[in-house]
Symmetry: C2
Subunit: 169 residues, 2 copies
DNA sequence: CGGTAAATTGATCTCCATCAAAGATAGTGG
DNA sequence: CCACTATCTTTGATGGAGATCAATTTACCG
């Protein structure tokens, strides 16, 4: 995502995720996408989708549900970026990754981070060093085990309690 | 917006704005709305809107455009919350307010802030004291003139240059 | 006019950014 | 196969922006 020079990672997509939901409605994309791994992409022509969703109400419903979820997700990110500290952000990030892994039939505790620390930092509004430090701290607390891009969640509940330790901003 | 205790101002709406765009697609609202002034609200039944937009393609197009804009707007906020300092955030906020005022036929320089400093802070990911200090600083630089909730923009270009002084995160 | 909520301003502290350097990893070519 | 290089990662030291704590001051409303 870029807008007057600045740029930021707006999200990480996994198999089955839709992307490019900005530009629905005819506008131009304000984000671009970079593959972090060998990927297959299925392009959905917007007008065909709109045409079909006019004919099939349940498709329309699903389409709108997806758009809505994107908005809710973004609001969650705004909350995270606006009021969480470094390790809370990271905990939320890891738990989210874990959930999505599990939803796709992979292990919820064994994660392979496809992105660099800088990417994670950009996404979470942190610097890469801060991400690295937070990971090390979590490892020291036996919450996770990190070896480069390989990450294993040891104490899921511990992570959850970090992620939701309220700050009541 | 609240989710496990925390809460945050997700946006400020003005006359004509749609709100409640979470919950499109049948879900539950994750935000609620508070009137900061005497307000009239026109409720749009979702299923009627979807029904109509199935029949009127241009309505569907507009509807999708609005949803898309919301997503783009949120991404802008994520950028702001993730990588801007206090006065940049405030400058962006004021310029945005000014634009929307102008679009409605009001003066772009004479603003009446309907919300508290705490609300602004919550929206921008800052504390109320920080908002207050940033405003005072801008006033000292003759960029704006604040008297309580009344705000006058004196140097629009100055504000713009603050808003876009890149930080290249 | 008195009481309450909001706003300003000051002092201090904390967390994260920044600067800097060393260690690990993967890819390249001899 | 191994040295070689570029990139990524970790870790340390320092500084700064904003949070937090606290005390006035100002505006608002019955």
């Amino acid at each position: 995502l870029h807008e007057d020079g600045r740029e930021q990672v707006a999200g990480f997509h996994m198999a089955g995720d839709l992307l490019g939901l900005d530009a629905i409605g005819g506008g131009h994309h304000v984000c671009d996408a970079v593959a972090l791994d060998d990927s297959e992409v299925c392009e959905i022509p917007l007008d065909a989708l709109e045409q079909l969703s006019r004919e099939i109400p349940s498709l329309q419903l699903h389409f709108h549900r997806i758009l809505s979820r994107e908005i809710v997700r973004d609001h969650g990110m705004m909350l995270l970026l606006g009021s969480m500290r470094a390790d809370e952000r990271l905990a939320v990030f890891l738990l989210n990754l874990s959930q999505r892994h599990a939803a796709r039939g992979y292990s919820p505790v064994e994660l392979l981070l496809r992105m660099t620390r800088a990417d994670i930092g950009s996404y979470l509004g942190l610097k890469l060093e801060t991400v690295s430090r937070a990971l090390s701290r979590m490892q020291a607390l036996d919450l996770i085990e990190v070896r480069n891009r390989h990450l294993r969640i040891i104490d899921m509940d511990g992570l959850k309690s970090i992620a939701s330790r309220c700050a009541a901003t």
